[in-house]
Amino acid sequence: MMTPNRALLVLPLLLFAVVAVFLVGNLGRPQQAVLKSAMVGKPVPQFALPGLDGGPGLSSRDLAGGAPALVNVFASWCLPCQVEAPHLATLARQGATLHGIAVRDGPADTRDFLAKHGNPFARVGIDRGGQMMLALGSTGVPETFVVDGRGIIRYQHLGDIKAVDVANLLRELERAR
């Protein structure tokens, strides 16, 4: 082995000092346990999903129609989606426009689900492969996005909507106007 260069021997200490400074700097930062979608603040990707039973589907153009809307990602096999269904109905009653994206689901199952738990959606898009869900940056079902009138995603709600979240979502819709 060659003679150790004395300057090199200080290197581990310097590296540690850098790491230490950064660790101290990061201490006490609030924890963010959930990763928000990187799509928040960006326009909805171009898409056109077929509708249910030949009904109107959902496309990116429908989301750029001038008025803000809620886009709810759901599935018939998802239990929390059933739990949030009444709150979606409340949102619709209070004047919010809702669109649904049914992910990884058969049309018959989606139809049964909407018949049983109510259909608050103006338009429902069928996303059998779940690609649209990925394109939105959604990590699971249910999730709800606030999209403003120009098709830009303004807000993401992770998980099921609870009664306490309704007011907040209406506020976000108002802000996106």
Binding site: A20, N26, L35, W77, L79
Partner: protein, 640 residues
């Protein structure tokens, strides 16, 4: 009363640690070092016993018991609950540190009494910091009066037999590395590093490494069967925090061997010894300070984080400072040719260091980026697999060749004959995987080839190089690596998976296996209720097993966990997870068949066993008769 005695014993332990630490300065205090080490063990043990007692009798006037226990909890989990929280786990850490100190105090002082006093001094300093942290910022004996009548229960994920052993084993490993750390600092202070030092430190590194191996493997096994995600390693920052000291310890183990045998790599070995324990402390800091959210992060309190950071800066900064200051004056050891046993071991060390580097960057870079720019990125398996696996494969190639090279300078003419069986086995494995199992991914084919290459080469070393403890230990450990690689490759490349929605009575087919959902019904445990599915597994029509995956709901604290249904066959594991009902009478069932997955942990146990066998050899080498013939230490000989 008993908690107060425990609290008081901890203060006494701090005093004993202080005496130990002062022995670094001399002035006659050093003669008390051994006694102080034994006293410290006694006091910490009393303190730990007092806390255990409070948990066992559910003394809810102790705040820690209230927040982490419950009268309905089974006795085993009352006891493991002692260390399944921030304060208790630190007390366990301090206990293991005291045990290691006592072991150093009682082991023969082969490097002289003064050296042992210095080692105990460094260990005293380390203990003092952690005891102070307990006493000043994380008192486990804090009372809360009036006492509540019932506790809040323990995180259900931690109510598992795996938890009974995972932290203690890991801690024994970490703390074993603290001995190597103390040896390195003491050696730098004395300017005395050589083969004798390496031989004295090697048993400590060996047992630390063996325990660490088992501890990490148990953690991985626990994640496999408890989390219900169907994987065994997720490259989660907390897993990486335990993996990094292990990689450093593996490198240290090999460089210590070179130092012991050939008196080369002196300052590199010192640096590794310092780094291995520093990474252990860094890991503890990362998971305990609230920098990360995980099942391990009990303390989400920045003042505690700052305290731990101060300790980390003191110890790691201090040791690296001593290194920067002193390592330059450590005389350079012997040289060697690139093609030699040392050359192969240096290459191994370089590859391990690269691996350490990529894991370190992958773990800390996302945190750094978020701290600097607020941007969140997620670094996961794609990065780690792409960086670690090639390095591992390169190491495997070397691991079969290295043991056939001689020390200092080696010919290569004998290698083709020696490596022929391994080469044939690797080629055969690739062909079989390609032709019979239809494996197409290059990385998987390389994995099979690597496993058989290393496995056969290790067996051959066992046959050809004679049955000494050192050779058997090395061959066993390397064989274990091959076994683990085979398990990892096969369970990944040949895995079958089905995610289905089933009604009771439905059958799902998966590659020759059938699973029939017989029943889903509620069952109850001591502190949980669960929905349990019964899945009848058959293969080509013959019934093989009944799997019982559960979705558990714990009452205190209210939380849902999955208990995977698992059945091990010789060819692999059938693994089932029960998901949610869809409200129409169907249940989500996630089914995996994981071929040879258990070899991953079997391989890890073989590695640890190899370490233990080598340790038995070291114990024999300690006998004075065997000490002849080794080159003496460089520098002034310490007075015995």
């Amino acid at each position: 009363m008993i908690p107060e005695i425990g609290h008081f014993a901890l203060w006494l332990a701090a005093a004993a640690a202080l005496v130990k630490a002062l022995s670094l300065a001399g002035h006659g205090v050093e003669r008390l070092a051994v006694a102080a080490a034994l006293a410290q063990l006694l006091f910490v043990l009393s303190s730990f016993a007092a806390l255990s007692w409070a948990f066992m009798v559910s003394d809810f006037s102790v705040q820690l018991v209230t927040t982490n226990s419950h009268t309905l909890k089974p006795a085993l989990y009352k006891f493991t609950g002692v260390w399944a929280n921030h304060e208790g786990s630190l007390l366990l850490w301090v206990l293991v540190l005291a045990l290691a100190g006592a072991a150093v105090a009682l082991a023969p002082a082969t490097l002289g009494l003064r050296f042992r006093q210095r080692v105990l001094g460094v260990m005293g300093l380390v203990s003092l910091g952690f005891i102070a942290f307990l006493l000043l910022a994380s008192n486990p004996f804090e009372r809360s009066l009036p006492a509540p009548t019932e506790g809040q229960g323990l995180n259900p994920l931690l109510q598992d037999p795996g938890l009974a052993f995972h932290p203690p084993l890991l801690y024994i490993g970490y703390v074993g590395l603290s001995v190597a750390f103390a040896f390195a600092v003491a050696a730098m202070l004395e300017g005395n590093v050589g083969p004798r030092w390496a031989k004295a430190v090697r048993p400590w590194v060996l047992w630390a490494w063996s325990f660490l191996t088992v501890g990490v493997a148990l953690g991985s096994y626990w994640a496999y069967y408890e989390l219900g995600w169907g994987g065994w390693w997720f490259w989660d920052p907390v897993e990486n925090a335990a993996l990094m000291p292990w990689i450093a310890a593996t490198a240290l183990l090999h460089s210590v061997a070179v130092l012991a045998r050939r008196d080369a790599l002196r300052s590199w070995t010192l640096l590794l010894a310092v780094m291995a324990f520093s990474l252990s402390m860094l890991g503890t800091f990362i998971v305990r300070s609230g920098l990360l959210t995980s099942v391990h992060a009990f303390a989400v309190d920045p003042t505690r984080g700052l305290f731990l950071m101060a300790l980390l800066a003191l110890y790691v900064g201090g040791a690296l400072g001593v290194y920067a200051w002193k390592a330059g004056s450590v005389p350079v050891g012997e040289g060697f040719e690139p093609v030699s046993r040392e050359g192969a071991l240096v290459a191994n060390n370089l590859l391990l260091s690269c691996m350490l580097g990529v894991v370190f960057i992958g773990t800390l870079y996302p945190m750094a980026l978020e701290g600097l720019t607020g941007k969140q990125i997620s670094v996961g398996p794609p990065y780690f697999n792409a960086t670690v696996v090639p390095l591992l494969l390169a190491m495997v190639v070397l691991m079969a060749i290295g043991p056939w090279l001689s020390w200092k300078q080696s010919g290569t003419a004998h290698l083709p004959a020696r490596l022929l069986p391994a080469g044939v086995a690797a080629a055969a494995a690739t062909v079989v995987a390609l032709a019979l199992f239809d494996v197409r991914a290059t990385i998987a084919l390389l994995g099979f080839a690597a496993a058989f290459w290393l496995g056969v080469a290790s067996l051959q070393i066992l046959l050809k190089q004679g049955l000494t403890y050192g050779v058997v230990g090395m061959a066993l450990a390397h064989f274990g690596v091959a076994v683990a690689i085979l398990g990892a490759t096969a369970s990944g490349a040949l895995q079958r998976e089905a995610l289905v929605s089933m009604r009771v009575g439905d059958v799902v087919e998966m590659d020759g296996w059938q699973a029939r959902l017989i029943d889903v019904r509620p069952v109850a445990g001591p502190n949980w209720t669960a929905l349990q599915a019964e899945l009848q597994i058959s293969r080509h029509g013959a019934e093989m097993a009944i799997l019982k995956p559960q979705s558990r709901t714990f009452t205190r604290p209210a939380m849902e966990t999955t208990e995977a249904g698992l059945q091990a066959f010789w060819r692999g594991d059938m693994y089932a997870v029960l998901g949610k009902p869809d409200g129409f009478g169907r249940w989500q069932i996630h089914l995996w068949f994981k071929p040879l997955v258990r070899l991953i942990w079997a391989g890890a146990f073989l590695m640890a066993l190899g370490g233990v066998v080598a340790l038995a050899g070291r114990a024999r080498v300690r006998l004075p008769k065997r000490e002849r013939g080794w080159p003496g230490a460089f520098g002034p000989q310490p007075a015995e």
